[in-house]
Amino acid sequence: MKSMTIIVREDSYDKILTPLAFAYLQASEGIQVDMLFVNWSVRVLTEEGAKNIKVQGEYADQDQWVRSQVEKVGIPNDIYTLLKAIKEMECVNFYGCSLAAAVFGVDEDSLIPEAEGIVGASWFLNEKADKADYNQTF
C-alpha cells in the first residue's frame, strides 16, 4: 500500500482516536495518508476544537479516565499534540470539508497550521480517495 484516505465524521474524543492512530501508524511506514474531516469533526482542525474535544454520550463521565489510559499506553492524550505528532511524519494531510466548515462554523483563518485547508468533497473524493489504494471512514 502506498496511499490511503480516511474520512472522519465522529468528533468524540474516544471515537477520533482510532482514525488518528491509524493515520499515525501508516504514516510511520511512509504511506501517504489524506484525511478529510466532515460534519462536527471539522472543528478538530481548529485549536479551540482540538482543545475542547471530549468523550461524549453514555461514556461522557469517563473522559478523564480515558485520557489517563491513553497517556499510559504512550499516545499523546491531547488531540492537538497528537495531530502535531502525526503531521511530523511528513506524509499526512489534514483537510476540512467545505460543507462541514460552512455548517459548523470553521473558516480558513481558524484552522491550525497543521491543516492543509478547506476543500470541496468532490475534489477530495476524486483526487484523493479515488486514487488512493485504500479508503476508510470513521
Partner: protein, 82 residues
C-alpha cells in the same frame, strides 16, 4: 529466554505502550539504522506478535528471532539493504 548471540545495534523498549506506538517507534528507529544493523524491540503489547512479523515481511527486514518471557516479548530485526 533462550541464550543467543545477536549483536544488537540498538535496543528499543516499548514496554507499557500499546498499538500503534510500538510500531511507530520501531519505524522511526529503523529509518535511522543502516543495512545490516539489528534492532532489538522489547514489548508488552500482545499485538506485536502479529504486527512485527507482518511488518518485517512487508518492509523486507529480517526477523532474526522472537522470544517471550512472561509478559515481555523481544524481537530482533535486521535491517536489509533495500
Amino acid at each position: 529466554m533462550s541464550e543467543h548471540k545477536i549483536a544488537v545495534t540498538q535496543s528499543l523498549d516499548t514496554s507499557g505502550q500499546c498499538c500503534p506506538m510500538p510500531m511507530i517507534d520501531s519505524n522511526k528507529a529503523m529509518k535511522k539504522m543502516q543495512a545490516g544493523d539489528i534492532l532489538e524491540i522489547i514489548a508488552t503489547d500482545s499485538g506485536t506478535r502479529s504486527d512485527i512479523p507482518s511488518w518485517c515481511e512487508r518492509t523486507g527486514n529480517k526477523l532474526l528471532l522472537s522470544e517471550e518471557e512472561g509478559d515481555t516479548l523481544k524481537y530482533y530485526v535486521q535491517k536489509q539493504g533495500l
